[in-house]
């Protein structure tokens, strides 16, 4: 029996889908069987970031309506045999989701996979509520800026009141990923500090991901940045994925700019 994790943010554009793709691949690299599910019905992106857009035959709505089986709809990753993908429908909209059908699908996936990672849509509408409803845990992705923090705060509030687990007296585990941290800006005090974000949201920190231009290129090419060993963001996602798999990995302080004496010196000899 696996664990269902919803990746949420409240605000759009903070890197939810990128995080989902990289974490999915990351846990697969840790030899765990993983499926990533795009719950952003009507605006599917995850297929492109995983480089699987040309493989989509059946989507999640067709599975839930009974037009296709889960096996038929699951798409195997090109880069890792442990990773599977279930696409969102591009033609329907979020209103097609229904609680009992979502529950059936999630339970079915849970039996076959160690990790079921759901990519939630932005916003806090019905599509979001259905994504978090049957999740065992949630990963909240934020950027170090006030609007992202407030929207995430609202999303957590809804998670704490609408989740199936909470309604049955249990607690949903909540973890935080702070994405797109710019060390220079944090040092200059132009960006929110991690401690402040954790204080406001009061959830456990899962990891910090630095701003990395390579992420955009990786997404465009359909190769998640985690595959790029040199990328700082990729390394950060590897650490986070290992933590998800229960390994103890120390937090790396990425908020201190990498512009010390030695790095400058090494820069001179390049």
């Amino acid at each position: 029996m696996g664990i269902v994790i919803a990746v949420i943010s409240g605000k759009g554009g903070v890197g939810k889908t990128t995080a989902t793709a990289n974490l999915g691949l990351g846990v697969a690299l840790n030899d765990k069987k993983c499926v990533v599910v795009d719950f952003d019905i009507g605006q599917r992106n995850l297929d492109m970031i995983l480089g699987l857009e040309n493989r989509v035959v059946y989507d999640i709505v067709q599975v839930m309506e009974g037009d296709a089986s889960v096996k038929q709809a699951l798409i195997k990753s090109k880069v890792n045999e442990n990773l599977f993908f279930l696409a969102a429908s591009q033609s329907k909209d979020k209103t097609v989701l229904e609680s009992d059908k979502v529950q059936k699908l999630v339970t079915e996936l849970k039996e076959d996979f160690d990790f079921v990672i759901l990519d939630a849509p932005a916003g806090i509408e019905s599509g979001y509520e259905h994504t978090i409803e049957f999740a065992d845990a949630a990963i909240i992705v934020v950027n170090p800026e006030v609007s992202s923090i407030r929207d995430a705060d609202r999303a957590i509030g809804i998670l704490d009141s609408k989740s199936y687990k909470v309604k049955n007296g249990e607690e949903v585990a909540k973890y935080l990923i702070i994405n797109r941290i710019d060390a220079d800006m944090v040092q200059k005090g132009e960006m929110l500090k991690s401690e402040d974000i954790l204080e406001i949201l009061s959830v456990k920190l899962l990891g910090k991901v630095p701003e990395d231009k390579g992420v955009i290129d990786a997404s465009n090419q359909g190769k998640p940045v985690i595959l790029d060993k040199k990328s700082l963001a990729g390394q950060a996602y590897l650490r986070i994925a290992s933590r998800l798999c229960g390994k103890k990995v120390d937090m790396k302080d990425i908020e201190v700019a990498n512009s010390g004496f030695f790095s400058k010196l090494s820069g001179m000899f390049k």
């Binding site: 006030v146 923090i149 407030r150 929207d151 705060d153 609202r154 957590i156 509030g157 809804i158 704490d160 204080e199 406001i200 009061s202």
Partner: protein, 209 residues
């Protein structure tokens, strides 16, 4: 407008037998000559001429504005008294309920008040956690918040004690309180002689944990 008001004696009757009627009126003429005669039912021609000859004022088929009898008035009065007593009891119970909702009604919460949440508190509030940006608390009573407030507070009690961040929106009895007066430490805000008085509770920030 000029007007006069009179009390008039009225004799109301119904005619069954014309002979009887006329003999009765003949014998009691001195009594009836100052009365207004009202005849209900049919009025035969002979009686009409009789009344005209005798110069008696009369009305035919006229509905009189009758006053209520003393008995009816008395029972009505006692019913009204009883009703008034009951409504007074209800009003007193309502006042009591309202005052008990306001006083001796403390809500203690250790929830983080996240963005989008709106708390409506009828009595006093003791909150042991943060109020995040985008959250609102409306309290009719006093408010004590031990962690920092970034959201909106509307307090109508006698006092409030809190620490506000620059983002907060604190309104005490409809007056916006400057955030920088409430920053960095626990402050007491109270209303004295229509003046809002802010005093720091402690010089330093205290650790509640």
């Amino acid at each position: 407008m000029k007007s006069n008001q009179y009390s008039v004696k009225i004799y109301e009757t119904r005619i069954d037998d014309e002979e009887n009627f006329m003999s009765f009126f003949d014998t009691n003429y001195t009594l009836f000559k100052d009365h207004l005669i009202v005849i209900q039912g049919k009025l035969p021609k002979s009686i009409e001429t009789y009344l005209n000859v005798k110069k008696l004022k009369y009305l035919h088929d006229f509905e009189l504005p009758k006053g209520r009898s003393r008995k009816a008035l008395e029972s009505e009065l006692s019913a009204e008294k009883a009703e008034r007593a009951v409504s007074q009891q209800i009003a007193e119970a309502k006042v009591e309920e309202l005052s008990s909702r306001l006083q001796n009604n403390l809500t203690v919460l250790d929830d983080m008040i996240r963005s989008g949440r709106e708390l409506n508190i009828e009595g006093d509030l003791l909150l042991l956690n943060r109020v995040n940006s985008g959250a609102t608390i409306n309290a009719l009573g006093n408010v004590i918040i031990t962690k920092v407030v970034e959201g909106a507070i509307r307090c109508n009690g006698n006092f409030m004690m809190l620490t506000a961040s620059p983002k907060a929106n604190i309104i005490f009895h409809g007056v916006e309180v400057e955030n920088n007066l409430l920053a960095n430490k626990l402050n007491r805000v109270e209303l004295k002689n229509n003046e809002i008085i802010i005093t720091p509770v402690l010089k330093k920030e205290i650790n509640w944990a």
